[in-house]
Amino acid sequence: MAARATLPGAAAGWWTPAALVISCLLAVPVVVVALSLATPHPEVWGHLWRTQLPELLLNTVALLVGVGAGALGLGTALAWLVVHHRFPGRALFEWALILPLAVPGYVLAFVFLGMFDYAGPVQTALRAWFGPSFRLPDPGAWASVVCVMTLAFYPYVYLLARAAFLEQGAATLETARALGHPPRAAFRKITLPLARPSIVAGTALAMMEALADFGTVATFGYRSLTEAVYRVWYGMFDRAAATQIAALLLLFALALLALERALRGRARFTQSRRRGPGIVPARLRGGPALAASAGCGLVLALAFLLPVGQLVVWAARAGGAQRVGGALAPHLGITVLLAGVTALATCVLAVTLAYARRLRPSRPVRLATRVAMMGYAVPGAVIAVGVLLPLAWLDQVLDAAARQVLDRPLALVLTGSLAGLLVAYVVRFLAVGFQTLDASLAGVPPRLDEAARALGAGAGGVLRRVHLPLLRRSLLTALALVFVETIKELPATLLLRPLGVTTLAVDVWTRTSEALWAEAALPGLAIVAAGLAPVILTMRASGRATRSGT
């Protein structure tokens, strides 16, 4: 791998130690989770093994395969359609297809269940039409969960694949065509392999998210390992045993990341960044054009319009808007503030880690980064406890020090302030920022570094003047992704938010946990709206390359 080899003449300077310190600190919560295995709970494991562990493992694998294939196929196909083709509505779909990212997964799940289950409007209407004994075939929990998660998580693949397709520019593809490859073959032989690191990175994100998800599996009654974590935690009051099951999830995450590295392919595929004319999309006509528009429209309708429409209906029905609406502005304010700071901090750290690895891919940095990223695949509540425990310990240490030195006790500096919450967010979403940036950084030819170095630039200068401009799109994508994820984040927020800090997600959750869906609709819409702004800005900022083509 080109990115693996130390760049010739590169003096890594402080980059390597800095990356090592950062990644080791961020890996602490994952290590805390893994360390739970040190004190075994044989009775819980014996019970699980006798009653359900094989089923849970099988279900989890089936879930990963389904969601991985679904998100990979759907995300890549949609990105390929909108970047390389012209069809009615393309310009709209190009940015609109990213909108489902702003809809929390559990909202999508709940709306789908509400719409399509036996008592829902669809089947009720069908029964009124075809008679009372009519019922739709039950798709089963697996198919339902895979469907909903595919619709919720495909945007990761779509975003990354689209950015990769656009970054390729036209030159590469045109060369291929000039050499006599028909368009489809050129796509298969050139476009796809070049975009592979990004596509695989997006798919890995979608699969890690599926691994950690509790809301959707709980809604459809699908028994995954994550569902078991919560059942053991809340049902047997055994957080330690629950954490051990979560540690099992780490093995899945480890396998996923290894698979991702293997599938990224040889990163010797770097590409010319010649700023030539943009991609010239192929014009679709007739049937294919119709099919393209209808396909994009269907995905958009199911993954975005349907849930948002339902939220609007509920919001209108809620009536008691003053009960909900009064606190909306402060909740929105703190949510956006937290998400903004998290997005910036996460991306700065992710760039540091990715660049340090490029400069000198030392084994300790690689290992620590990988461990830190596994936090994304563990249920949010578990990794949040992994953040809480070391912070609480640090608070005790600080307090003891204050008593010694200042002769007075200290309040909860970390666990009682926004600092702890920000740490938790960064730990949780580092993978999102890192995956997005690293995949893109791997595509920059090392000879650009070499040239800049030869011209006298230092490591920081190369990053600032060569890489960051080239990575502009990925950087914006990473910022937007982390921002949106933070807005939706719930378990860590619940565990670590200081008194008086209520985010929109917490507001939605406190209402939905009492089944007050109508009341939750307004803050739910606010989440979607707050998430939309950065998503749309990103698309505008990164959409210029194809504007000439539409």
Binding site: F220, V341, V506
Partner: protein
């Protein structure tokens, strides 16, 4: 702006306990506001709430230790309260008033928590297809006549765990396993919320189900013609299973006196009525009245087993459900 926020929060946590404030960690997010406001009006004591799931709030209390800002833990399900007490997060309350207001079976024998509102988990039936005479006990839902006609919520749901836990306390593991096996043999439709069970009954997918009573009350408040009614299970024997939402004073409460005052107020008939009116729950204090919609269902015999059993046998209940294949 961020620095300002951090400073503000830092200042808040660093401030010494204000005597005019009680901090409540709450896993109950609905229905208590009117009573809290009334307490503040009466005493001038402000109430600060931090909402969260019970699991998260307990972890948080443990991590905060003697520095916790929380004075009161308010949560749902007796099992959760029992677990908080077992973890040493609650302190014994010395209050004759609380003991007088709340019946003995609805509070901790050691007075570390008290139930404040009562939820009955009982049989719900389709009024168009089922006659009350066909129903009797939880156990009878295992009768083959209900095959394919029963809707249940997932076994992982806390109120089902508590129901099974108290059955274990009452009947022993073997007989409880028989009862639950009977339900499972009827191939119940497993749904993910109580409201979904009630809607499924109304839509004709099943004829009977088990839910908490107030979910039906909420649906009836919106649609008086909703074709589902409650049947009070086990009236001829031990009484219908009830659970509570309740509260205790945290082990390291800074404002212990006001915290106990708050709980005493919440258990008074006046505040109990406020709970009942907003949330359709039964008051724990027998002197308070129920809201008219719920009053129509008449009086019923509660199972008077101390509900601490819900916590004591909860892990056993979870294992039992797994063993007999109740998902």
């Amino acid at each position: 702006m961020l620095l300002g926020g951090l400073a503000a929060v830092g200042g808040l946590t660093a401030a010494p306990a204000q005597t005019g404030q009680v901090v409540v960690y709450s896993a109950r997010h609905y229905g208590q506001e009117p009573a809290f406001e009334a307490f503040t009006r009466r005493t001038g004591v402000q109430i600060k709430m931090l909402n969260g799931g019970t699991g998260e709030l307990l972890e948080r209390l443990k991590a905060e230790g003697d520095k916790t800002p929380a004075d009161v833990l308010l949560t749902v399900d007796a099992g959760n309260l029992w677990n908080a007490a077992r973890a040493g997060l609650l302190q014994k309350m010395d209050s004759p008033e609380l003991q007088a207001s709340i019946p003995a079976h609805l509070r901790d024998p050691e007075m570390r928590w008290v139930g404040l509102t009562v939820r009955a988990r009982t049989i719900m039936y389709d009024t168009r297809k089922v006659k009350p005479a066909e129903l009797s006990t939880y156990e009878a839902l295992g009768d083959p006549k209900w095959k394919g006609r029963l809707c249940l919520r997932t076994s992982g749901y806390v109120y089902n765990q508590s129901l099974i836990a108290t059955m274990i306390r009452r009947h022993g593991e073997a007989r409880t396993a028989e009862i639950v096996r009977g339900w499972v043999a009827n191939q119940p439709v497993i749904l993910s919320s109580d409201t979904k069970i009630l809607e499924a009954i109304a839509a004709g997918r099943c004829d009977v189900g088990l839910t908490n009573h107030y979910y039906l009350a909420r649906l009836l408040a919106k649609d008086p013609a909703f074709p589902v009614a409650p049947f009070w299970a086990d009236q001829a024997t031990t009484g219908t299973h009830v659970n509570v939402s309740g509260a205790g004073v945290t082990a390291h409460a800074r404002n212990r006196a006001q915290a106990i005052k708050l709980l005493e107020f919440l258990s008074s008939p006046e505040a109990q009525q406020m709970f009942a009116d907003v949330s359709f729950e039964y008051p724990a204090n027998p002197q308070a009245g129920v809201t008219p919609l719920v009053a129509r269902w008449g009086r019923f015999k509660q199972d008077d087993l101390n509900i601490a059993a819900a916590g004591e046998f909860q892990a056993a209940a979870t294992r039992l459900a797994d063993r007999v294949g109740y998902k």
